[in-house]
Structures are given as C-alpha cells and as structure tokens.
Chain length 340, copies 2
C-alpha cells in the first residue's frame, strides 16, 4: 500500500515522493535489474555492434487480462517480435506506463509481475522507463508503450526487397487465436474457455531459421493487427507480385473457426500475437518447415502459398477448398478495435 | 480528409486500409524520412558505436498547445534531453501515438508538424512508430510516447558517482517557466501571455560543455517533473552529501515568481523543459558558466550552489536572502498533474 491507499493517485505521476514510492515499491521489485535500478535519465548500454534495429508499440488491449496473456505480457512479446522478424536479436526494452487515477495497485502489480516474468523468461531486460498518471476518465485503466533495441544477426537481413517470384510462404501455426480470444471474452461468449491467445516471443524459433537458412529467409513479419490478410497485402503491394494462398493449407484451430464464423469474421483478418508470415526461397522451404515443426512455437506450421509473377497491381488470391479463387483485400480497419 | 470525415475514427487504429491512409496522408508527410518511410516492423540503424544510451517518456500534457510549445515539441525535446544529460548525442527517436476517437485531424496534423519541425531543427529522425486509437472517453485527445537512442560522446560519462564534495551546481537559466506557463494557461490567469515554456533541446549547449570541460562535468539532469527541488534531492539522496543552494543566485523570471507566489507554488518544485542542473568541478565552474552564458540556451545561467560534506542523510538546504537556512524537500507529487 502506498500512502494508505490501494489505488493509483494522480500524485503518483508527479515526479515527487509518491512517484518515488510507486517506482521503488511496485516497479523495481517486479521489473528491475542492475541497469533500471540506477533510475538514470537514460540507460547506458554496451552493445556488441552498432548495427541495430529499433522499434516501438503502444498497447491498449481491452480487457487487460485474457486467456493466454495480459497487456503486460503482450507489451513484451509484441515489441520483441517486431525486432525478431527484422532479423535482430532483442537486447533491451523500455517501458512507459500511462495509468488512470483509481487503478487498483493490485492490478498494476499483476501487470508488472507479468512484464517481469515474460522479460526474464526471454532473457531481455527493461532498462529504462517512465510513469505518468492521468485523471479518472482520461484513460482506460492503463496503456503501455514499449520500445525495443535489437542487434542484427550477421548475414541475415530479411526485407521486402529480397522477395522473388516462386518463393514459398510459411506461417508458424494456427491463425486468429489472439484476436478471437479477445473478442469472445469481450462479448462473453461461451466457447471463450477453449480459446487462448497465441501471445509469445518468437525469437527462439526465428533465430534457428536464420542460423540454418540465412539469406533464404527473404522476409518475415508478425501478423498482428489486420491479421495475415494485412501482411500478405503488404507483400503484394510492396513487391507488385501476386500472392497465392491455399485455403486447405491454412492452419486454423476449429474453435477459432467456429467463433469467427459465428461472429462474422474472416480468420485471415484477425490479429495474431505469436505468428509470423515468412517468405522463404523454394529450395529452403521444406527445411524451414522442418525447423518450425520441431520447435514448440511452430508445431502447427504450414506452407500456405507462394509468391507469383509481377502483375499490374499485386493481388492476394485465395484458392478455395473447391478450387475457386477469391481476392483477399487489406482489411478496412474496423474489425477489432483495441486488440493489442 | 480521410474517409469523408475530419476526425480520427476507431478504425484508423485497426491496422487496415484506414490505418494506412492515416500513416500515408498525415504521419509520413510531416515526420517521415528515408528510414521511417520504409514502414518496417522496426528501423534498421547503423550507429557509429555500440556504446549507447536509451530512454523513454510518455507525454500527457494538458492543454495540448501552450505558449512556447505543444505536446509534439515536448515529446521530441524531453526525450532528447534525457539522452543529452547522460552525455549522449541523440541520434534516433521512436514515436507512439494513442489517439482518442473524435480528435480533429487538423489538431493531429498540427502536432505532427510540430514534431517534424522540432526533429528537423535538431538533426534527429523519427525512425519508427506506432498509432493506436481508443474509444471516445478512453483517453484525453492524444498521448505521445517517444523513446530515444543516443551515442555516447567519448570521454564523458557523467554520473552521480562522479560527484565530489566542493563541486559547484550550475543551472542554465531561469527556473519554473514551463510549469507556470501550463498551470496559468489551465487556470486562465491573465499574466499568461507573459509566460512562456522553456521547452528546448539542450544538446547543442551540453555538447559544448562536454567538449570543453569533459570529465569536469560530473553530473547533469534536466529538472522536469518535481523541478529543481526533485533533482537536487536526488543528488543529496544518492551521494549522501548535503547540497547548499543560494536563494539570491537562483535565476527566476519575475512573472514566474509573481505567478508562483499568487498560486502558492515554490518555484523550485515547478517543472522545467529546457533546464539542466549540472554538477561541475570547482576548477571548471567559471569556464562552464562562461560557455553557458555565450550560448542562447544558457544566457541566464548561474552558479546556484555547491555540494557540501557527507552527512548522516543528504539534505538540500536553501540559504535565504536574509541569511536563514530552509530545508528543500522532495515535492510530494500533487503540485502539477499532467505538466509534461
């Protein structure tokens, strides 16, 4: 308890004694380490090289806790994954909290514990941070922004410009789990208990793919907001090549499919938090798939399609179960607010 | 205008077509550059060295626009200053936006323009970013989180552990300008027009001090939330040495003093956004002061006190105009919510 109160107060963000209390009693015990504990204006780091990747994401997911994760775990996984898919080993995270006055300190602590645990399990440190408070009604409980620094793995620089016609498209497991878990929980739908977010740090699997297949891994992206459809359309749009996906090959958890059908969503549009779309050379596709299937993060992996020829305008087409073709468009955006 | 609407919609944060529109029509034209325009999951950077500083801050200032700046300018200056006071040349920023549905796109654009201008004027690039939207009532217009990377200037590693008894304390100009500007504007007080935030990037001045005085600059901190009182107390608390400040020597704008007196604030507790407290060796203090006074960012600089002996518990004491002594405590925290 801070100041005889069990809720966050506006003064906890004022930069004075109460801010200090919040940091020392709640933040450092849960996410602290030698660097963060110095409480400097910035963290001093000695990286093995100046070739780095840098990324940031804000997390506003609702509800804060869901089957398979919470906003804290998401804030660590999501930002680490943005580094990993760029071919960088994640090395440090920042953590900025915007907290609504009145948030129970017990909830804040659960979230901080989750951040600390996820970071420790994945060998990454929160090295710098900030805490702001706003009045009740000026935020929705808590928003978290993490930024991450990763060091480039030598030799592997995946990028859209590496993609060639004929390349294979791999996904490391079932699609739509995160988004359908959140939306079902929000709507209080009964199959909720069978749904579980795929929220996970992908680096251990990606590192194996890069070590074994190097430059044959042309491009990777984690299929979060906008789902696989958004990622595939970005590939088609940036390369000007058609992308062909085979419906039969898409790994989808049956409960996720049922929930999506019932609620009127296309699973391809639904956010994932532990899935990447990888474009790999045709010669390396089977090896990449083998590496995925031998790893807990990729046991349901599949080759779901391939990159086609250059066309006037790159299109994503789905070959349906009965052999028809359907264009998969970039989702409009109103599918699932506050999914991450 | 996006989608026939002049306000931000929830779907602008959905990761689909509308997110794309917002990024391409508003964000890239104002803050874009070669790296950001690639819209990768993370930005790839080649730093001159792996010895870096890393920092983050969220900005929730209210009102969004104030005399001397706005939330966008603040988000660039504040994070760059956290790198600068650690002795690091700022090289890259991330930009994460949390936007309340219904925010006028015109306001968003003004803020983005300000971010872009401040970054360009200070030779720094926004290299990676994120945009989230939340429902009306779930945030207060816009919150901005920036993270920054800086490269350590060789030879200069200022830190609390370098501080010695007898060191001089310098501030680079008048105290309390930012905080009193915000609070006066919020309260609609008439001297508002004479008050102006000191919001500025301090690196150009700090670089000169480090180049000329190197290790004689023992420690620096920008005196933001909690004001000079918080920074001085952090020094006393971390070193266990007393800190003595001379009231006569404190540079304070007369309008700021009048506003603080009228509203019942101690100027020492009030946030600054363009002021550092530097602890320098006695032998270098005059030279540091000269460098400050010759620079636009330090023309009102002053030596305001010195570090005393080790004591049972480091205390900050003010020698008043009439020769009395008053202990300056760490502010409690409820002085000025949402000041930055």
């Amino acid at each position: 308890m801070v100041d005889g109160n069990d809720k966050v107060m506006l003064a906890h963000g004022g930069g004075g004694q109460l801010s200090n209390d919040l940091i020392r009693k709640y933040i450092l015990p849960n996410v602290g380490n030698d660097v963060l504990n110095q409480l400097g204006d910035s963290a001093s780091l000695e990286l093995e090289s100046g070739l780095i990747c840098f990324t940031t994401d804000s997390y506003v997911v609702k509800p804060l806790f869901f089957n398979g994760g919470d906003i804290g775990k998401l804030a660590v996984c999501g930002t680490m994954n943005d580094l990993a898919v760029a071919g960088a080993r994640p090395v440090a995270l920042s953590l900025a909290l915007i907290i609504e006055t009145g948030l129970e300190l017990e909830i804040l602590e659960r979230i901080l514990k989750s951040i600390g645990e996820t970071a420790r399990q994945n060998n990454i440190s929160i090295v710098t941070g900030d805490t702001k408070t706003v009045e009740a009604g000026s935020a929705d409980k808590i928003f978290i922004t993490t930024a991450g620094i990763g060091v480039r793995v030598s030799g592997a620089v995946p990028g859209m410009d590496k993609i060639k016609s004929g390349d294979k498209i791999i996904v490391n497991g079932t699609l739509g789990d995160h988004g359908m878990t959140i939306i079902s929980q929000r709507k209080g739908i009964s199959f909720e208990s069978k749904l579980k977010s795929d929220c996970a740090v992908l680096w251990p699997l990606i590192e194996q793919m890069l070590m074994n297949c190097g430059g044959d891994v042309r491009f990777m992206r984690d299929a979060t907001r906008g789902g696989a459809a958004a990622t595939l359309n970005e590939i088609a749009c940036a390369t000007g090549m058609n992308v062909e996906i085979c419906e039969k090959a898409l790994p989808i958890n049956p409960t996720v499919r049922a929930a999506a059908d019932m609620l009127g969503f296309d699973v391809l549009d639904i956010a994932n938090e532990g899935k990447f779309i990888a474009v790999v050379s045709p010669g390396c596709a089977v090896e990449c798939l083998r590496i995925c299937k031998n790893h807990p993060l990729g046991k349901d992996a599949a080759i779901i399609g391939e990159v086609g020829e250059v066309s006037k305008r790159g299109l994503v087409e789905l070959i349906t179960r009965i052999g028809g073709r359907r264009v998969i468009q970039l989702p409009y955006g109103r599918e699932l607010p506050r999914i991450c």
